[in-house]
């Protein structure tokens, strides 16, 4: 069994075709990448060239074309019903606007400072660096962002969203996936889930606005000491735990739920928390 396994690995039945291409693309050009299955890895660099190296799935064809302001590459599958993985690794001018679409292929982007539009159904999205604008959407893929895009939107239905960094305009949305934010300074943040748990640990700009909405996920908000903030928390059927101030939650009508309005360190950042049910906790970062 062992010998047979080694034999299989060392002599693939179908040779995989390699691809290597380069085309010029302006430093702020637009690039579109479509690869349904496999992986797409993108690196930003400081040349006005797009370079791609890849390994195509058997029977797949690779297309690339375009001009100095905009280019496109895509992979066409030999059999749409059973697409084989193609791995693409792409270098793009760092300030480019990159648009990627996959079905299950993972998307990995680093060092791009331009704009990113990343769409996948079930692939994982991983972004490192500080794109100027980042829009990441998945259906059941996880999204992981490690950086500080000033403007970011991330949506997944059943995937999780993890954000480590800072942002001045951030919105994260899931249905059942958890949202975990662990980072720096935020100005405007909107996080909503239906049943996913929300964990937020970060610094709030004192003139900022923060919205947390869930139906039944738990919400845990942790802010550093001496953060001026004004909290407005309400839940229809859940519970509120407040260790930031001495204010106690007021029980809701019908004996369920609770409401809490409290200022911390004199008040400042507006934080609104709405939960239908589930546990809401507001506390200091440990």
């Amino acid at each position: 069994m062992g010998a047979a396994a080694i034999l299989f690995i060392s002599s693939p039945l179908v040779a995989q075709k390699k691809v290597e291409r380069k085309i010029p693309l302006g430093m702020e050009g637009a690039l579109r990448i479509v690869n349904m299955v496999g992986s797409v890895v993108v690196h930003g660099w400081n040349k006005d060239t797009v370079m791609v190296r890849g390994t195509l799935g058997p029977g797949d064809t690779f297309f690339m074309g375009g001009g100095y302001t905009g280019a496109k590459m895509f992979v066409e599958s030999a059999n749409d019903r059973d697409p084989k993985p193609t791995r693409l690794e792409v270098w793009v001018p760092a300030r480019a606007r990159v648009w990627v679409k996959t079905a299950s292929a993972s998307i990995d982007v680093s060092d791009v400072t331009g704009g990113l539009d990343l769409y996948t159904v079930s692939g994982a999205i991983d972004v490192t660096g500080n794109p100027h604008e980042l829009n990441a959407e998945a259906i059941d893929g996880d999204i992981h962002i490690n950086g500080s895009p000033p403007w970011v939107r991330a949506k997944s239905a059943s995937g999780t969203i993890v954000f480590q960094g800072a942002s001045s305009d951030a919105a994260f949305s899931t249905v059942s996936g958890a949202v975990k934010v662990d980072g720096g300074v935020f100005e405007r943040t909107k996080i909503e889930t239906v049943t996913g748990n929300i964990n937020f640990s970060g610094q709030l700009d004192r003139s900022g606005a923060f919205d947390f909405d869930t139906h039944s996920g738990s919400i845990d908000i942790a802010i550093p000491e001496k953060t001026p903030a004004s909290f407005s928390v309400a839940t229809i059927a859940g519970a509120i735990t407040n260790t930031l101030s001495k204010t106690s939650p007021i029980p809701g009508r019908f004996g369920r739920g609770a409401e809490l309005t409290t200022d911390v360190s004199g008040g400042g950042a507006k934080v609104s928390v709405r939960a239908f049910k589930g546990q809401v906790t507001i506390r200091r970062t440990k």
Binding site: V175, S176, V194, I236
Partner: protein, 228 residues
Amino acid sequence: MTHEVIRHLLDDYVTGELTEDARGPVADHIAACEICRAEVESLKEILARAAELPKSIDPPADAWLNIRAAIERDKSAIATEHTQLERFWRRPYVLAAAVVLVAVLSSGGTALYMNSRDHDANSARATATNQGTESTPASLAAFTIEENTYLRNVAVLQDVLDQQEASLAPETVARLKASLHTIDEAIFEARNALARDPANKMLIEMLSGTYRQKVDLLRRTTEMTRGS
């Protein structure tokens, strides 16, 4: 430039896309070369005839009827929405909840709904007809239109998704259905709570937000699976 090279430039020459530098030599060559001259003439003729083709041709008379029928099917999704939804998701309790909501609102919840905080442009409310925001009991009709717009968006999108389901992996379809089911359960719970506490502005806002999430998820999925 040789004749062989110039032959490949004739198209661009005729359509005026040659650079300044090239035009001269090409024109000179054409004047002296019978083959190229003939080719240029026939190219010009083809382009002239192409440009003269009728830009408009009457379609068959019954085409509009078919289009109208399809549109009416979309619209009647409001009245018979349970057929559309059940066909795919089998959730009869959604219709029941809608009935509850309409009953609740006829008792005065409308005013609160209409005055409540606006959500972003993706809100189903924003896509509804532009009704005034002044609230009177008569605006129950206005709210019903918005609710119906939401249901229509959902029905149309689910129809589209229906057709595209084949292009998604089975696990993804299962997880997507699970997500939509999760949202529907949340909607159902919120509506029941609203029935018991119709004056609850926050509940209405939460409900509106959850509707929006559903429409957004359906829209995103249909766009993503549409094809590159």
